[in-house]
């Protein structure tokens, strides 16, 4: 294995283009485990943490841009970002232990493409997009369009995620992410639900995005669940319709963490509770 640590995007894309099978190293919390267990044997590892664009958190015209390799702990400790996007922080806080978050990044969490990745439903709910660089130059995509199946992304050969682009936060808006796990810490989501919503001055929901994790081969954006909230005062009937839409969208597997039926039921519960937290945050913002 060869180790490369380019300090420019152009340098990284040149190495990725010239070395089929090269792997990107950000936090390494998935890659090094895969290498140790012989699930990955890359000829070249490209450490992207010397590229400034991947390691910065910036605020441009009121909208956050978070480098794909920014560590979880750095983001959690960023008080202004955490205040603006508490639901994204809910998700990031659940990516493993303090030690894991000291290295792990949202870019890695997304590109590792686990359907149970904790930051991904929160990012989808937030309406975050990713900036991608590759042999054909730069492009943007919605976060929900990156993961396509366990371990597989829509990124083309030689492409890499550079940064997450968050929309401006309107007034009276809030987001939340909740997951169900048998343990409170250090576990993988049985179901995860991320919700972001905005209210008008009268408390009517004007915008909503609902995303579910661990209930399908990829994290889902559930439009029907969002539609059930928009235009309502987020009363119990609206939340019930949203919860039913979440259950209807699930296509889960049976495994040791939960049966298919259980996941479908718990998705509705997690989504309802996440919506209540997001509502409360929106009203207080």
């Amino acid at each position: 294995m060869r180790y490369e640590a380019p300090d420019t995007l152009a340098g990284a894309t040149a190495i990725l283009a010239a070395n089929a099978g090269a792997k990107i190293l950000a936090g390494g919390t998935d890659l090094l485990v895969q290498m140790k267990s012989d699930m990955a044997d890359p000829p070249v590892v490209v450490d992207v943490k010397k590229i400034p664009e991947l390691c910065r958190i910036t605020l441009v015209d009121g909208a956050y841009r978070v480098g794909a390799a920014v560590t979880g702990m750095e983001l959690v400790e960023h008080a202004a970002f955490a205040k603006t996007w508490p639901g994204v922080i809910d998700g990031v806080k659940l990516i493993g232990s303090v030690q894991i978050k000291g290295r792990a990044s949202m870019g890695g969490n997304l590109c590792n493409a686990s359907p149970a990745a904790d930051s991904v439903p929160a990012l989808i709910a937030a309406g975050a997009r990713v900036e991608i660089v590759g042999p054909q130059g730069k492009r943007e995509a919605a976060v929900e369009d990156i993961g396509i199946a366990p371990g597989r992304t829509s990124l083309k050969p030689g492409e890499m995620v550079v940064a997450f682009l968050f929309p401006k936060r309107p007034p009276r808006s809030g987001d939340a992410y909740l997951r169900f796990t048998p343990r409170t810490e250090m576990d993988i989501a049985v179901v995860g639900a991320g919700i972001s919503l905005a209210l008008d001055a009268q408390g009517t929901c004007t915008a909503a995005r609902v995303s579910l994790g661990a209930v399908a081969p990829r994290a889902l954006l559930v439009d029907a669940a969002a539609k059930a909230l928009i235009g309502t005062k987020l009363d119990a009937a609206a939340l019930d319709r949203m919860a039913a839409a979440c259950s209807a969208a699930c296509q889960p597997i049976d495994d040791k963490r939960g049966t298919k039926e259980y996941r479908i039921k718990v998705a509705a519960v997690m989504a309802t509770r996440a919506a209540e937290i997001a509502m409360d945050r929106a009203r207080k913002s």
């Binding site: 294995m1 060869r2 180790y3 640590a5 190293l25 936090g27 390494g28 919390t29 090094l32 485990v33 290498m35 140790k36 267990s37 590892v45 450490d47 943490k49 560590t71 702990m73 493993g96 232990s97 303090v98 030690q99 894991i100 000291g102 290295r103 810490e185 250090m186």
Partner: protein
């Protein structure tokens, strides 16, 4: 392929070592530098026995490539006591019998110090969450949490 040459700072001293490109920081510490205070438990980031800090950030050294630490500052358990004088956390771990076999202890001490640097007055719950990435199969954690609470009290006074 030629081994990589890495220059880094460990516990305040500039250190040079040679390593393979795919060698972990944990392996470089233990096998190249013979600093065996940092322990290997699982080797996959689940147990926290190999905890060190890099530029003040708590990480599992088993999930860091040694070549990544060029120019960084690493702190390990070997730098925790000041000569014969134990760190308050180390003293309190002994007083409270917060260890039995001791394999998890260096990692827990490094993790606890990292918490107290950020939060000098943590609650029991905050300590339990912060140390969730450090597994101990002997103590049942209660004495560890008590020792950290007591050390924090002493360090504040």
């Amino acid at each position: 392929m030629a081994r990589a040459h890495v220059t880094t700072t460990i516990n305040g001293d500039v250190v040079d070592f040679l390593c393979e490109a795919d060698q972990t920081l944990l392996s470089a510490l233990r096998d190249e530098l013979r600093m065996t205070g940092t322990k290997e438990g699982c080797g996959t980031g689940d147990c926290g026995a190999c905890s060190v800090t890099i530029d003040g950030r708590l990480v599992c050294s088993c999930l860091v490539l040694a070549v990544e630490v060029e120019g960084k500052a690493i702190d390990t358990i070997e730098g925790m006591a000041d000569g014969e004088n134990l760190h308050p956390l180390q003293k309190k771990f002994l007083e409270h019998a917060a260890l039995q076999c001791g394999i998890c202890t260096p990692g827990i001490l490094i993790a606890a110090r990292s918490l107290l640097e950020r939060n000098p007055d943590p609650s029991e719950t905050e300590i339990r969450y912060w140390l969730a990435g450090n597994l101990c199969r002997c103590t049942g954690y209660h004495k560890i949490v008590e020792a950290v609470l007591d050390a924090a009290r002493e360090m504040r006074s």
